[in-house]
Symmetry: D2
Subunit: 484 residues, 4 copies
């Protein structure tokens, strides 16, 4: 499955085209966030590392078709929307002059991907203990890996004392008739994709954060989008209040949402595509559009790993030190089926590498401080515990929040929706969670993540002079309400 | 001096027009950031508070003519510049269609000020122990204040157990011939200012952060700006590397900078204004433009406070608890002549209030964690110690930095200049300072401020999974280099 | 009940013998740890305070008949035991020369109490805003208190804005025939007690920490002690392993323990006292001795407080800010029926006082960091969560421990029993609990309490160079095992 | 020099008597605190380690003749003194019955050393990757070490990727005539020493902490001790107030102190020994006693290390990561000539090992949190900065202290001298130092060390409920005075 890319990222001819040695200290399988960050740390620690990736460059799906290109598109379009909002609020009639086309955003995305791939080539060279090879890695046993050329032209077996598995994930396609009529993230955001225009009506299967983000940006472009979601609500696992607000916002942009709607088939009729779905009561429904996007999520890519005895329920099982059941095999990133976020993969990879260097697991990931964001406009973000999870754990907590409506920066940017909410453990007065809906949520959430990671207390935040006028002031304004 | 405003902010008719009582627990003089935040905390603690401000609304100079309106103007214009940059990089020829006029930005600014003044009226009402009066407050002694109407129509003497002095600051005008030909922040950014257009060539006296910000935004509008600075360099006190980069950037926008140039006079000739200056070698120079902006800074407003014995060298002297030499008088904000930043004033005010409530000073401000920003494009920000100050204190430190050129978010936003730099104390591995130049510096600096405030260590930051792709990742990328 | 003391502690004649004023800011009822520490803080904050106590001095039961005198006795005897142990281990036959009699220990105890009472008189005078009165305080309503002379010679009603209730606790006497034949802490340890000798065989009703401490010290004196406990095990609520070790140790000293034995009566026959008890199967048992000590615990003293609506289930109910349901009434100490420990009462009192000063509750007690000790030889101590409570809360934890057998200080002191155990939350690597059995446990536990209070991580402890050779090294030796 | 021991500690015959392999990952030279703790960590991390020590057991000088045996003697004698104090205060005339002889204390010391040596044999076996050899290690170059039998019967050259140098220190003997008439720590406290009695009058050359500790314990035994110190004061580097108190206490025990007295010769006349010294004014003095103890300190043992280029000014120079100038050589312990304390050596050794494992230096020692103690009665201890050093660094600090006279535990133990003093950085409110004189100072100092290590603030300590009645309460009592 890996190794099928319509367009390969730029690769430097100077890299070895096969593993240079027969034996390494560590073999890293996969060059995404879960792979290369650890590989670089291992190299800095003096270990000889072989890293294998089938795209022949770094960044994994995130850079090829995921977060980087999608956000390049979204942010371009939302910048336009933001400036239109300001002009509109002061009565400027000419706001449509401020215009960005989907094609402009796609061009921008390709450009960002390109410079990033070049940067990765430079970075590999900067880490001299890393041999990087474009190829397919097949695990033979806990100490041996077979590396093959993409085109099958060569095969080489390599040994290592330790393995770092970072094979990532692949998109899920639900097995219904007509599933091959749909497109996915590779078509939408893949490097040098051929899909450079977007039709005026789009159907989206899946109301998770990917589907919602796509619907949101299409709505901002004036394109009709329709979400079909199997569960009773979109954005499962997110704070109820946030989900309600996002639904409302999507509807205000003309997005239609069908929940409790299980897709059972897709067909094409007279140039239109039709998605057929079934409701819990057995009744059927149909929606029609020019294009259908399959956005039902991703699953860990564990092919060939089961022989190591480290796969459980379709994912590689690890301790919080990233060590698998096999003491010389570590794993990181999407293949763990845990957070499936690039930034989580990066730190998992570093922790795995540091533990490999140390000879025993002494570092652990604090999963309570990993932020998550939905890149709609405005954004939603959360970190740590939310009210539901705090309640479930029997924690004695309080929440405080501040409406962005009252925040100077939000007023200046003309985006006053939303709020910052902190979840605080009563006795210790520690910040244990944060939930944000609004402008720059993806940025704000980082400070709360740090607060959680270092066990900061609410007074530390309440008395912190945040730069004025920035939206970060809303964090201290929320915190000072704790004492009310 | 206070009490002279061309246009008064909206004031609610329901407020008392004189002090309701003859005796309060605390009288707060000034309704800016140094005043009202403390007043609200005192009210929450159950004390009876009289707050007096000559504008008859809250927010002080910051809201009337300072940070809020100026950033409203800058951010509008910089949004335009950012979107143009992205379009330009992908070869879109039509970037001038994305257009914001100075007038649009001024309209937006007035709108922001207006909604903020309304919000403040609501907030005063929410704090029922605060009596708010539009008027002029004259201190009689450590327990008595004379409050007078702006128009002289009434006078009332009031007593209090404690005072919180927050009289703020006033702009400095250098005493040279023709000084009255210049305009200042009130004309540029004052509420409902009459100066709603900007001429095509502007002279700026003063190369501090205010002068530089104005020059930068004018440059982005295609307006010719010229800075005349007395010192050998603009932006005294800022990191050398940052100053060099900002100079370079200003020049690339057509800004001319004359340093070592002491202004000795201003005159008007045939519709043009001429600024005459003197160099250290005694030679003279002249620059000509349509308008002259005086931006040489502000000074604490201490009129009438000397009789309390709390003024020293033109400013109110306080301990880090905000208590003055007089045990029942606290002070906060610009009148301290310390940071002269709104967000610093806010926390000083809260600390003063909490100490008044507690009956003795137990809270102190940690001045090491107050961030400062120059709102150019891109921005520059710093917090805590920089290399010069760390060196001067004999601290054994190291620095690590990350170039924004390599940051995904900076690439996505098309603004790749700059870097994040952390200053770390070796033995304790604590973050003791941060210096940032680049996109979103004003936002990034807040996380570093928190790190300093809670004595976070470099590994806390290095292992923190910052949201991807946001520019906050550059903070952990810098931190992880500590271990190189 | 309060107000009945065989011997009154020294009281200074200079104190007012009635409340001086009719109205105070705060009335503090009770001069024990829950009362006077808060009173002193309120005084420092400038509030006028009336404190009333029926003994006419500070320290409550803790000083009159509780922790201070009992530990004065125990420590004297255990010092003797320790030096005998060292001499014995090197073959010195003369160890009985090192001798302390019960009478010596009682004399020492009286001396300690006496100097401490004198100290308290000095401390009251040092806090000038406190009026201290020997008397009985009866609450009239939330703002009024009636203060009466012990001998009924005067009565005065006093008002206050706020109350701090610290009425403490009283010993429980189980209501069985012959209960008045028993003695309790007042006879054993009361100030200037008449019981200055101890018979050679003693029965103890109750196997809680007080009963166990008394049995242990009697055992060390060569006195035959017998514990009769109703529950299946002594020391309910304590770590199982610790309970087993203490039982074993008690038995090695000749202490007999009857569990599952509910006392139903006490009688006196031919100079001997007989305790009759019933087993769960209905069978009966008897034990005989010269003296019977009733040590079944204490209960909050809430007489007269129910009219304030703040009493629930026999104790005053408070939030973690120490505020009761009545917004102007705070409470602290044993009357809360929570920890019933002097050091807990002290901090509860301070938190209450600080919140009263602040006008609203902003401080809270972190109950996770309050240590508890059983003063046997060796001691047992715990703080935070133990394994049972961590498990019950669903926390993902690990424990590490170090045997004192291997600790240099324990070897030097000749007391090598026991261990230090740390409970660590996996993901955050925070110390969340500590359990210690062994030499100096009561001292060691304080460092772990601090570690919990400041959210220290296991590596902070593991890398801390504890003074050598002190038993505190065993804390870092345990911590470093986390990484095994 | 190393390798000369009158009595060798027990060694297990099962250890290899030569290095088993020709090549190791790491060779650790020295089995003291700076050596074996690191060796064990390296073993846990999976590296093959050779550790060489000339005594053939662990613990270095600390166990053979230093802290462990000396404190075994002191603590035995001070226990006696403490119990006598309590008995005396209550008028018990029989206090001399409580008696410990020097011989008893020496027997106890031997016993402690013996069980500790057995423990170390067990510990070596528990770390299977460590080969331990009794022998002398000579460094050939940065990767090669020659190991020789003590008796010269074999020699073997061994290679390693990394070295950990922990050769320790040796006593300084001042080069004056008659120096060989003196005895030192080996005679006093060496394992199975022949000096098992002590004469009734002793001369001590050197008023550093070792000389002072010996004088103090002799004083407690009723033996006449005389200190001759070259400098103007004893205990150079210690807090002035502490030095004054210790001097006073020593004098009260009959210790005579000559300062400004440089020893120029020692001679023996008619069974007595005479120490001759010179004063700064050139005049001479003499003191006479039965025995002379040389206690002028220790110096790093660097013989043979200079060829590695890592020795500077007589000691091995390292970064705070414990890495020397040679990138594959780390060093720890007394050979650094830094703290020369066992507990410092232990953590230096661990940090060195962790950095070796990590492949690059990422851990550093925080030298601000290493406590130091003088084991007199009562003890003196300090950690972090004291007032002099804080002043010298230009830190804005305050101090708070609490007299042990008022502490319940000190009263109970009958030792009320002294105080706890905290040094606090004003703005950050962090604890930056602690100085303690009094009962259990060596224990108390550990909590303050932790407070410093984790950057705890004074309020964290002030609100911590320390176990009552323990002397640790005096720490929070001091801290709460910060807010006065």
């Amino acid at each position: 499955m890996l190794g099928k890319y319509p367009v390969f990222p730029p690769t430097d001819q100077e890299f070895e085209d096969q593993p240079r040695l027969g034996k390494y200290d560590v073999i890293v399988i996969g060059g995404g966030g879960g792979g290369y960050h650890g590989a670089f740390e291992l190299s800095k620690g003096g270990l000889k590392v072989l890293m294998v990736d089938d795209k022949g460059n770094l960044g994994g799906n995130c850079l090829y078709e995921g977060c980087i290109p999608s956000k390049s598109v979204y942010m371009t379009i939302y910048l336009m929307e933001k400036i239109r909002g300001i002009l509109n609020s002061v009565g400027n009639k000419d706001i449509n002059a401020v215009r960005v086309l989907w094609e402009n955003a796609i061009d921008h995305k390709d450009h960002v991907q390109y410079i990033r791939y070049l940067q990765h080539i430079r970075e590999i060279k900067e880490h001299e203990n890393v041999d990087f090879v474009k190829g397919i890695a097949e695990v033979i046993d806990a100490n041996r890996v077979r590396v093959k050329a993409i085109d099958g032209s060569w095969t080489k077996d390599v040994e290592a004392r330790q393995l770092l598995i970072a094979t990532g994930s692949i998109p899920i396609k639900i097995p219904v008739p007509g599933a091959d009529l749909t497109i996915g993230s590779q078509e939408l955001f893949g490097y040098k994709t051929n899909y450079r225009k977007i039709p005026s009506d789009v159907l989206i299967i899946g109301g998770g954060y990917i589907g919602v983000e796509v619907a949101s940006v299409l709505g901002s472009m004036g394109i009709k989008a329709t979400i079909v979601e199997m569960l009773p609500r979109i954005l499962a696992g997110w704070d109820n209040e946030i989900v309600s607000r996002i639904e409302e916002k999507l509807r205000s942009k003309g997005v239609e949402i069908f929940t409790n709607s299980k897709v059972v088939g897709i067909k094409k009729e007279s140039g239109q595509k039709i998605v057929e779905f079934e409701r819990p009561d057995g009744s059927k429904g149909y929606v029609t559009g020019s294009e259908v996007i399959m956005a039902v999520g991703r699953k860990p890519y564990v092919e060939g790993l089961d022989r190591l005895g480290i796969v459980e329920k379709g994912r590689v099982e690890v301790e919080s030190s990233m060590r698998t059941k096999a003491p010389n095999i570590y794993a990181a990133g999407d293949v763990l089926g845990k957070y499936m976020l690039y930034h989580s993969a990066v730190k998992e990879s570093v922790v795995a590498a540091w533990n490999i260097l140390h000879g025993k697991p002494i570092y652990e990931i604090n999963f309570n401080s990993i932020p998550m964001t939905i890149f709609t406009e405005p954004e939603a973000a959360m970190v740590g515990l939310n009210e539901e999870t705090a309640k479930a754990r029997g924690i004695n907590y309080v929440t405080v929040s501040y409406p962005l409506e009252d925040d100077a920066y939000a007023q200046i940017m003309g985006v006053r929706e939303g709020w910052v909410k902190l979840i605080i453990e009563r006795e210790s007065q520690r910040i244990i969670g944060g939930v944000i809906y609004g402008e720059a949520a993806s940025l704000l959430i980082n400070e709360i993540a740090l607060a959680i990671a270092v066990n900061a207390r609410v007074k530390d935040i309440a008395l912190l002079a945040h730069q004025h006028p920035t939206i970060f002031e809303s964090i201290d304004r929320a915190a000072i309400r704790f004492a009310l």
